[in-house]
């Protein structure tokens, strides 16, 4: 193995990346856009749900209940329709997500101990509906409790069980703290698998491979030289993403930076090897791009636990997620950012990533033949 030749390939690849606007955008601009997009626009905490309220009762009791809804940070009253027909049209046109209907006999029912309110939610938005259900029950039970306390006195009306839930590692349940580490994995998947999947295919497509394989260059040297620039770009992206996450979005970083670098190296090895294997196999940039989108990016997005918890997936999908490298990297990243995990605690993740990297790198090098087929 000649380091001279590895260096020759790496330098050439670097020059080509720097002269290609598309590669530059993919390597540097795309990650930044992704981070801002996800961190600002996507919030998993549902707040400020647009709501319409019909108050047929129009009593102190009903107004008190409505105040409790609108004073919470969850509901914002957008409209006060006069009929259920009008409410339906508001929901149909997407003006509001939730409708609360208080019937004319609300106050009477309350005094008899049998009042009810109707909450209508737009079930096409399942997430919001789920939250509405939870928030509504909470507000109604608080209202009940306060009425009990008013009539019986605070001493008599206590709830027997108090659940003290405490959120460790992310006490404010800030979704950015949860998203940013996952985003780092997603960015590296894009960089590793997508960009690397184009590199060999490009040489075949542009006709430069024919000359390259007529030289004494060895397949290992080609692979190392080709992937070295993408590894370095990956590490730059890591620093960039971590910096933006920590400084702009205030995500805590409680682990060790060297451990973070080590994990990123392991993950990049896996992602780059997968991309390289695809590139070596397909020889066409378009096919390589599509296949790597399908085999790396989508699983990295959907099956890695980035947004959707793996533990609530069906058994078969959970089994599939075992072969998604992003799963291990995201778990390690969350540990490093939020929980201050040590390398020892993250050993299983480290070993899994190393295994992926070695297997795919080996496959790619075996698969590459210095011949025209």
């Amino acid at each position: 193995m000649s380091f001279y030749r590895i260096w020759a390939i790496a330098r050439k690849e670097f020059i080509q990346i720097l002269r290609d606007v598309r590669s530059l955008i993919m390597a540097f601009l795309f990650p930044i856009v992704l981070i801002f997009l996800f961190s600002y626009a996507i919030t998993l905490d549902i707040k400020q749900i647009p709501t319409a309220i019909i108050d047929y009762s129009n009593t102190d009791y009903s107004r008190e209940l409505i105040r409790r809804f609108t004073n919470s940070q969850y509901f914002v009253e957008k409209n006060r329709p006069t009929s259920e027909k009008e409410l339906q049209s508001l929901i149909d046109y997407g003006k509001v997500k939730v409708g609360i209907v208080i019937s004319p006999d609300f106050a009477d029912g309350l005094n008899r101990g049998g009042a009810s309110i109707q909450t209508i939610t737009d079930g096409s938005d399942a997430n919001t509906s789920q939250s509405t259900l939870a928030y509504t029950s909470l507000i109604v039970s608080e209202y009940n409790l306060s009425r009990l306390q008013n009539s019986l006195g605070a001493r008599m009306a206590t709830t027997p069980i108090q659940a003290n839930v405490r959120f460790w590692y992310n006490p404010d349940l800030n979704s950015q703290n949860f998203l940013v580490p996952g985003l780092i994995s997603l960015i590296m998947t894009i960089l590793g698998s997508l960009l690397a999947s184009l590199t060999i295919a490009r040489e075949w497509e542009r006709g430069t491979m024919e000359l390259l394989i007529s030289t004494p260059l060895k397949p290992v040297e080609l692979a190392l030289g080709k992937l070295l620039p993408y590894y370095l770009i990956g590490m730059v992206d890591l620093l960039l993403a971590a910096y933006i996450g920590i400084v702009v979005f205030g995500v805590p970083f409680t682990g060790n930076l060297w451990t973070l670098a080590l994990f990123s190296t392991f993950f990049l090895m896996a992602a780059l090897s997968i991309g390289y294997l695809i590139s070596v196999t397909l020889k066409s940039q378009q096919a390589a791009f599509q296949i790597s989108l399908l085999t790396s990016f989508l699983p990295g997005f959907l099956l890695s636990g980035f947004l959707f918890p793996i533990s609530s997936m069906p058994f078969v999908i959970q089994a599939v997620s075992l072969i998604v490298p992003g799963r291990y990297f995201i778990s390690a990243l969350r540990g490093l950012f939020l929980k201050g995990s040590t390398l020892q605690q993250l050993l299983p993740e480290a070993l899994a990533l190393l295994l992926f990297g070695s297997v795919f790198a080996l496959l790619a090098i075996i698969k590459f033949r210095k011949k025209i087929q």
Binding site: R11, Q16, E210, S214, P216
Partner: protein, 304 residues
């Protein structure tokens, strides 16, 4: 005369199509050999196999007496190859391309400095070292390809249609470079669809449909050609050609500018040709026997 590359019974198939059909040929060392034939004759396949980048099905191929199947990778340093399609990086400059191949072949130090300087002068690319390869003209691209193929001072240079699509002036310059190299002792194998390039080479092989149909040293080959060739100058060459094609006395009748070339068996004398012409009421006084051109040989052999 030593042999640089010796090909024996070489066969290569692509699915049902036979690209090389039991081809045998010796490429003499320190000479320029031309592989001539139409598209699809198997020239590129043969050159790729000789460059070690394409597997072959059967047969044998040796370079300076050593078999290709034995440790070929180590021999790649002895070969300079220039593919048919421009194989350099268009987004790299002239200098960067040369440096890249110098690195791949492990050419360094003083040797490298001198060789790069010499190659840039020799290819007249020195004013353009900072220009992107993609912005060079066709002829300059080919010269850059040649410079990169020569950076490691190979013993054997394999060129696949290097002058295709290059203007005549650049083409002549390119050949001058090849003669210079040849004088310095490099073996050159060049492929071309043009007959006149076979005449420029010291040695040639005519290929058609994966087979060798003629080979030898040009002057000998033409004098010993198995057919006689006559030329008939005329103002209406096309009409005369059509007219004579209908006769079955001749092997072939071809158009050559303002004249018609008539190819016959050697036994068929000039007098007989004149008789045929007269029976067709054609002017026969200017009929002349000539040394066959490559085109005559090529057409006669590939149609016959």
């Amino acid at each position: 005369m030593t042999t640089a590359i010796c090909v024996t019974g070489l066969c290569k198939r692509f699915r049902e199509n036979s690209a090389l059909d039991s081809l045998s040929f010796d490429f003499p060392a320190r000479m320029i050999s031309a592989l001539v034939g139409p598209d699809g004759a198997g020239k590129t396949t043969l050159l790729r196999i000789m460059a070690g980048i394409l597997d072959y099905d059967s047969g044998q191929i040796q370079m300076f007496g050593e078999d290709y199947r034995k440790g070929f990778e180590a021999k790649k340093a002895a070969i300079g190859y220039m593919p048919q399609r421009f194989g350099l990086y268009e987004d790299l400059t002239v200098q960067e391309n040369i440096d890249f191949f110098a690195d791949l072949f492990g050419v360094r130090g003083n040797e490298r400095r001198e060789r790069v300087k010499r190659l840039l002068e020799f290819s007249r690319l020195d004013p353009f070292t900072k220009r992107l390869a993609g912005q060079l003209s066709g002829g300059m691209k080919q010269k850059l390809g040649l410079a990169c193929a020569l950076i490691h001072n190979p013993q054997v240079l394999l060129l696949d249609e290097p002058t295709n699509g290059v203007d005549p002036v650049s083409r002549r310059e390119f050949w001058k470079l090849l003669y210079d190299l040849n004088r310095a002792g490099t073996t050159v194998v060049i492929s071309s669809p043009y007959m006149d390039e076979a005449e420029r080479a010291g040695h040639f092989a005519l290929m058609s449909k994966g087979r060798l149909i003629a080979h030898g040293i040009p002057a000998d080959e033409r004098r010993n050609f198995q057919f006689a060739v006559y030329t008939l100058p005329t103002d209406r060459a096309r009409a005369v050609k059509e007219q004579l094609c209908r006769r079955n006395e001749f092997r072939s009748v071809n158009l050559f500018g303002n004249s018609v070339h008539i190819v016959t068996d050697k036994s068929f004398q000039q007098e007989n040709v004149k008789t045929v012409l007269e029976s067709e009421r054609l002017e026969s006084a200017s009929l002349q026997q000539i040394v066959p051109t490559f085109e005559d040989i090529y057409i006669a052999l590939s149609t016959g």
